[in-house]
C-alpha cells in the first residue's frame, strides 16, 4: 500500500507540469466553486411577485415616474422572511382585481403622448389604426423583460392580435398597444415567477436551473427586479452557466446603482420593515413623534444600511457599533439636535455619544415599543429573532401580569417591573433570553428619545448577551457586533432569500462554508452577495420541475 502511494505521488510529480496549465485554468475559473459543499435539493416553488419587485421592474422598463399607487396584497412572514411567504402566497379575488386595475393604469401611462417616442421606438404607419409590425416590435421587447424570457410565437401572435383588435375598436394604435401591454402586466406569467430545471451536464444525475430561471434568481437577489436585457442575453447565449461569465455578470450588477434596491429589499425583509406601515405613537406622551417621524425612521435605517454595506463596503457587524446616523428636520427633535439641513444629512456628532448603531436608531427603538411606553422585552426579542435568527417562544396563554400592575408596589421603571414579573420561573425562562439586552436600551423611550432617568430614578442600562456583560447601549452594540450568531444569521437569511427556501439540516455544511467565506471577506455584504450569486447552490435545480425545452417555453440553448 505504501508503495502504491509513493508511486502515485511520484507519478503526480512527474505528470504535474504537463497537467499544470490546464489544471490552473480550471482552478481559476472554478475558484468560486471549489470547496463549496453540496447543499440540499430544494423543491421548486412558484413565487408571487412582491410589491418592490413589481415596482422596480416597472421603473426600469418604463421609467421611475410611472405612478403605481394601488396597494398590493401584504405578504405574510414565513420562516423569518416575506419572500418565503411569497413562495406560498395565493391570490384572492380582490387581489386579482387589484392586479388588473393596476395593469390598465400603468399601460395607460406608458402610451401617453410624452412617452410614445422613447418607449415605442417606432412610429405606426397610421396612428389611428393598427400597425402589427410596430406593435410587435414593442410587445416582443417588453414581453421578454416582463416574462423573464422571450414570448413564444403563440404568445406574441396572441398579444399582437389583441393590439390590433383594440386599435380597430378605438381607432388608435396607441390604445391598442395599451391594452395589449395591460394583458402582459396582468398575466400570471408576469405575476408568478416559476423556476424550470434541466439536467446538469457537469454533475450527471443532478438538475440545474435553466438559464432564465438562474438569471431571475440572481436578478431578484441583487436588484430585486426582473432580469434586464443584458442578463437575459447572457442567459440566452447559454453562457450564464459558465462560472466566469456568471461572475462577470454578478460583479457588474453589484457595481451598478441598482444594487442599492437589492440591498434595501433584503434588509427591509430581514428586519421586518412592515412594522413601519402602521407606526404611530401617542401624541400626548410623545408629541415630537409625528407621522413624518415614522416615515423618516424607516428610511433612516435603510440609509444607514446602504451607506454602510454599499457605499463604504464595510464590515457588516459594525452596523451595530457605528456612530453614524442620518437626520431630517422631523427626526432631529427626537435627538434634541438641530436639523443639519432641510432634508437628509449624515450626522456623526456629539449626540451619538449615547447611541451606537442600528439598535439605537429611532426605527428599531420605536417599532419595538408600545404606543406610549418602551418595551425591553420586545426589543430583546427582536434582537434575538431579527438579528440572531433565534426563536423566542410565545408567552403561555395564561400568564399573570398582575404582579406588575399591583398598585401597592411602586415600580419606577421597566427593570423593576420585569424583575418582579420574572420571579415566576415560568416567565423567567423566556425573559432571560430577551430582557438583559432590552433593558440596556431603556435609556431610549418608546419614541426613541434619550432619557437619563425615569420617574426620578436613573436608568441602569447594564446587562449581558449570552455571557458578555455591558453597562450601556454602546456596550450592547459591541456585544452584538462580536456575537458569532450575527454573521451566521445574515448568511442564513441571505441564503434563504436567494434560493427561495428555508435552509435544512443538509444545508449545514454549505452554510458553514458561506459563513467562513463571509468572515474571510471581512464580513462585507457585497462579498457575501457575490459568493451566493456565483455559487453552485443558487444554480441548483430541483427534480420535480418540468424539463426545459418543453412546448410552453421558447428557451433555446
Amino acid at each position: 500500500m505504501w508503495v502504491g502511494i509513493l508511486v502515485s505521488a511520484a507519478a503526480l510529480t512527474v505528470l504535474g507540469p504537463t497537467l499544470g496549465t490546464s489544471r490552473r485554468a480550471i482552478a481559476q475559473s472554478h475558484a468560486a466553486a471549489l470547496g463549496e459543499p453540496a447543499g440540499d435539493v430544494g423543491e421548486a416553488r412558484m413565487r408571487l411577485i412582491t410589491e418592490a419587485q413589481y415596482r422596480n421592474t416597472i421603473a426600469s422598463l418604463f421609467g421611475p415616474d410611472i405612478i403605481v399607487d394601488t396597494r398590493f396584497p401584504p405578504l405574510r412572514r414565513t420562516s423569518g422572511l416575506l419572500v418565503l411567504g411569497a413562495t406560498k402566497a395565493g391570490v384572492s379575488a380582490s387581489d386579482v382585481e387589484s392586479f388588473h386595475g393596476r395593469a390598465y393604469a400603468i399601460a395607460d401611462q406608458v402610451v401617453n403622448e410624452r412617452r410614445q417616442s422613447d418607449l415605442l421606438q417606432c412610429r405606426p404607419a397610421n396612428p389611428k389604426g393598427a400597425d402589427a409590425a410596430c406593435a410587435e416590435r414593442f410587445l416582443k421587447k417588453v414581453g421578454r423583460l416582463l416574462y423573464r424570457r422571450p414570448l413564444t410565437e403563440g404568445e406574441l401572435n396572441e398579444v399582437v392580435g389583441m393590439a390590433n383588435e383594440n386599435a380597430a375598436r378605438f381607432h388608435s394604435f396607441y390604445s391598442g398597444v395599451s391594452f395589449a401591454l395591460a394583458s402582459l402586466l396582468a398575466s400570471p406569467q408576469f405575476l408568478f415567477l416559476t423556476e424550470q430545471s434541466e439536467p446538469d451536464p457537469s454533475h450527471p444525475g443532478q438538475m440545474r436551473l435553466s438559464s432564465y430561471s438562474l438569471a431571475t434568481r440572481i436578478s431578484l437577489l441583487l436588484w430585486n427586479a426582473n432580469p434586464d436585457d443584458e442578463l437575459l442575453r447572457a442567459a440566452e447565449s447559454g453562457k450564464l452557466h459558465d462560472p466566469a461569465e456568471r461572475a462577470r455578470q454578478v460583479d457588474a450588477m453589484i457595481a451598478s446603482p441598482r444594487f442599492e434596491q437589492g440591498v434595501r429589499a433584503f434588509f427591509a425583509d430581514m428586519f421586518a420593515f412592515e412594522k413601519y406601515n402602521n407606526l404611530a405613537k401617542d401624541g400626548t406622551i410623545y408629541p415630537a413623534f409625528t407621522a413624518n417621524s415614522a416615515r423618516d425612521a424607516a428610511e433612516q435605517t435603510l440609509k444607514l444600511l446602504v451607506d454602510h454595506v454599499v457605499d463604504k463596503d464595510a464590515d457588516y457587524r459594525d452596523i451595530f457599533t457605528t456612530r453614524t446616523t442620518f437626520l431630517t428636520p422631523s427626526l432631529a427633535p427626537l435627538y434634541k439636535a438641530p436639523a443639519q439641513s432641510a432634508e437628509w444629512a449624515k450626522y456623526e456628532g456629539p449626540l451619538m455619544d449615547q447611541r451606537r448603531g442600528l439598535l439605537t436608531q429611532i426605527g428599531f427603538l420605536a417599532t419595538q415599543a408600545h404606543n406610549g411606553r418602551s418595551s425591553p422585552t420586545r426589543r430583546g426579542r427582536a434582537l434575538r429573532e431579527l438579528v440572531l435568527c433565534q426563536h423566542v417562544p410565545d408567552p403561555p396563554p395564561n400568564v399573570d401580569f398582575s404582579i406588575v400592575e399591583d398598585p401597592k408596589a411602586h415600580f419606577k421603571n421597566a427593570r423593576e417591573r420585569l424583575t418582579a414579573h420574572n420571579t415566576d420561573p415560568v416567565c423567567a425562562g423566556c425573559h432571560k433570553l430577551t430582557d438583559p439586552m432590552g433593558l440596556a436600551l431603556e435609556n431610549f423611550d418608546g419614541a426613541g428619545q434619550f432619557r437619563a432617568g425615569e420617574n426620578g430614578a436613573p436608568i441602569d442600562a447594564s446587562g449581558q448577551l449570552d455571557g458578555v456583560s455591558f453597562h450601556d447601549a454602546a456596550g450592547l452594540g459591541e456585544a452584538v457586533r462580536n456575537h458569532p450568531g450575527v454573521p451566521a444569521c445574515l448568511v442564513q437569511r441571505a441564503f434563504s432569500y436567494a434560493l427561495g427556501r428555508e435552509a435544512t439540516d443538509r444545508d449545514e455544511p454549505l452554510l458553514t462554508f458561506l459563513e467562513n467565506r463571509f468572515a474571510g471577506d471581512g464580513y462585507r455584504v457585497k462579498a457575501l452577495m457575490r459568493t451566493i450569486g456565483t455559487s453552485q447552490a443558487i444554480a441548483r435545480g430541483s427534480p420535480k420541475e418540468q424539463v426545459a425545452g418543453a412546448a410552453s417555453t421558447a428557451e433555446t440553448h
Binding site: 409625528t290 434634541k336 438641530p338 436639523a339 439641513s341
Partner: protein
C-alpha cells in the same frame, strides 16, 4: 424628498455654527425641563398669530352690529338698478369703483364716501401692552387686569367680522398662512439667558426663518425643531433689543419690527412679494413655557404701511367682502383712532396695535452666516425706511 439617493444637502452646517447655537439644555435635559438654568439661548417661532381683539359674548362690544361691506354700501349709495347700472357701465367693477370719478374705494379711500356709518368696538378690555408707559383715558385694561393697555386698533377691527374668532376669514386664513408660508416665518432668539424664570437682562433678536413648521397630532407644532435664519432675503425682519424675564414672562424694550404676513395661495408666489407692515416701538410680552410660549407682540402700526398691507395684500378685490369691512370707513376710523407718531402737522401717523401670538421653541440655526447683527437695528424711535 425622502428616499432615493443621498444628495449632498444644499446648506451644510459647520461644526462651529452648530456649537454656536446649541439648544438650551445639556444632553439629556432639553427644552422639557424649564427649571434648569443651563445653556445660553433659545428660539421662539410664531406658530399662531391674530390681531389682539377682546371679544365679548353676543358681540356686546359691537352694539350696532358688525360692519358693512363695500357691497352693502354700494347698494345704499346707488339705491336703484338704474343708478347702479350707470355707475357700473362707466367705471366697471361696481361696488368698489364708486368714487365721484369712479375711484376705487380700496386705493382712494379718502375720496370714496360710505353712506353707512362705521361701527367701532366699544368696551374697556383689550389684550396688549402699556406701550407708552402712561394710563390715558382711552387706554384699556387687559383680560388679566393690567391697566394702561394701548390697543386702539381693537376699536377699528373689533367689529369687523373677519378679524373675530373662531370663524372670521382673516382670523382663520391669516393664521393659516402664518403656519403654511415660510415667507411669513417670524421668530425671536432670546440669548444671554441665565434663568428662565427671572433674568434682568437678556437680548432678543428677530429673524425670518426658512423652514416649515412641523406639526404632530392635532396640528400641534413640535417643539425642538430647527429654523434656519434667512440671511439672504430676510434682513429686513431682523431687529435687536434687550429685555428681561420676570416670573417667567419675557418683556422687551421698544424696537421697530417689520411683520411679514403674506396672503399667498400657492407656493409659487411665496418669493414674489413679501406683504408686510411695520410695528414701531414694538414690545413683546410672552409667558414662557417649556415648549414655547403665549403672549402679545404690540407696537404702533404705521398707518400707511398697514393700509398698504391690508388693501393690496389681504383685502384686494372681493376678499374684503369676506372680511366684512369697507375701505373708506375703515381708513377713516384708522386715522381717527391713530394715537402716536404725529407728523409736522400734529396728525398721528401710527395706531397702537396688539398681535396675539403663540410660540413654539426652536433651535435657531445661523449656519455659515454666524454674524447675527441685524441691518434694521433700532433701540430708539427712528424713522423706519420704507
Amino acid at each position: 424628498m425622502v428616499g432615493g439617493c443621498l444628495r449632498s444637502p444644499g446648506l451644510t452646517w459647520a461644526l462651529g455654527a452648530f456649537m454656536a447655537t446649541t439648544s438650551l439644555g445639556a444632553a439629556g435635559a432639553g427644552p422639557a425641563d424649564a427649571s434648569q438654568t443651563s445653556g445660553d439661548s433659545f428660539g421662539l417661532v410664531i406658530t399662531d398669530l391674530y390681531f389682539g381683539i377682546h371679544q365679548t359674548q353676543d358681540a356686546k362690544d359691537c352694539p350696532q352690529g358688525l360692519n358693512s361691506t363695500h357691497r352693502t354700501n354700494y347698494l345704499k349709495q346707488f339705491p336703484t338698478y338704474t343708478a347702479r347700472t350707470a355707475n357700473d357701465l362707466k367705471y366697471g367693477y361696481g361696488y368698489v369703483n364708486r368714487g365721484p370719478n369712479g375711484e376705487n374705494a380700496l386705493y382712494s379711500p379718502e375720496v370714496v364716501v360710505d353712506p353707512i356709518p362705521y361701527n367701532l368696538a366699544i368696551g374697556a378690555i383689550a389684550p396688549g401692552i402699556n406701550l407708552d408707559g402712561k394710563a390715558d383715558a382711552n387706554d384699556f385694561v387687559s383680560p388679566d387686569g393690567r391697566t394702561g393697555i394701548d390697543n386702539q386698533m381693537q376699536r377699528v377691527l373689533g367689529c369687523v367680522g373677519g378679524f373675530r374668532g373662531p370663524g372670521g376669514f382673516f382670523y382663520q386664513a391669516g393664521n393659516a398662512q402664518i403656519r403654511s408660508l415660510r415667507v411669513n416665518r417670524l421668530m425671536f432668539e432670546i440669548s444671554r439667558v441665565d434663568d428662565l424664570r427671572n433674568d434682568p437682562d437678556v437680548t432678543v433678536r428677530s429673524y425670518r426663518g426658512l423652514d416649515p413648521i412641523i406639526s404632530g397630532a392635532g396640528d400641534k407644532a413640535v417643539a425642538g425643531t430647527t429654523q434656519r435664519v434667512d440671511y439672504e432675503r430676510g434682513r429686513r425682519y431682523m431687529s435687536e433689543t434687550t429685555g428681561r424675564i420676570v416670573d417667567g414672562v419675557l418683556v422687551t424694550e421698544p424696537v421697530d419690527l417689520r411683520v411679514p404676513w403674506v396672503r399667498g395661495t400657492n407656493p409659487c408666489c411665496e418669493v414674489a412679494y413679501t406683504n408686510e407692515f411695520t410695528l414701531r416701538a414694538m414690545q413683546l410680552r410672552v409667558k414662557l413655557t417649556p415648549t414655547g410660549g403665549e403672549g402679545e407682540i404690540a407696537g404702533f402700526a404705521d398707518l400707511e404701511l398697514w393700509w398698504n398691507w391690508f388693501a393690496r395684500g389681504w383685502a384686494a378685490g372681493s376678499v374684503i367682502e369676506t372680511m366684512g369691512a369697507t375701505a373708506p370707513s375703515m381708513w377713516s376710523a384708522l386715522k381717527e383712532q391713530a394715537d402716536a407718531y404725529p407728523d409736522q402737522r400734529g396728525v398721528n401717523t401710527a395706531i397702537s396695535t396688539t398681535l396675539s401670538a403663540r410660540f413654539t421653541r426652536v433651535i435657531v440655526a445661523h449656519g455659515d452666516n454666524s454674524a447675527p447683527s441685524p441691518q434694521v437695528a433700532s433701540r430708539t424711535h427712528q424713522e423706519v425706511s420704507r
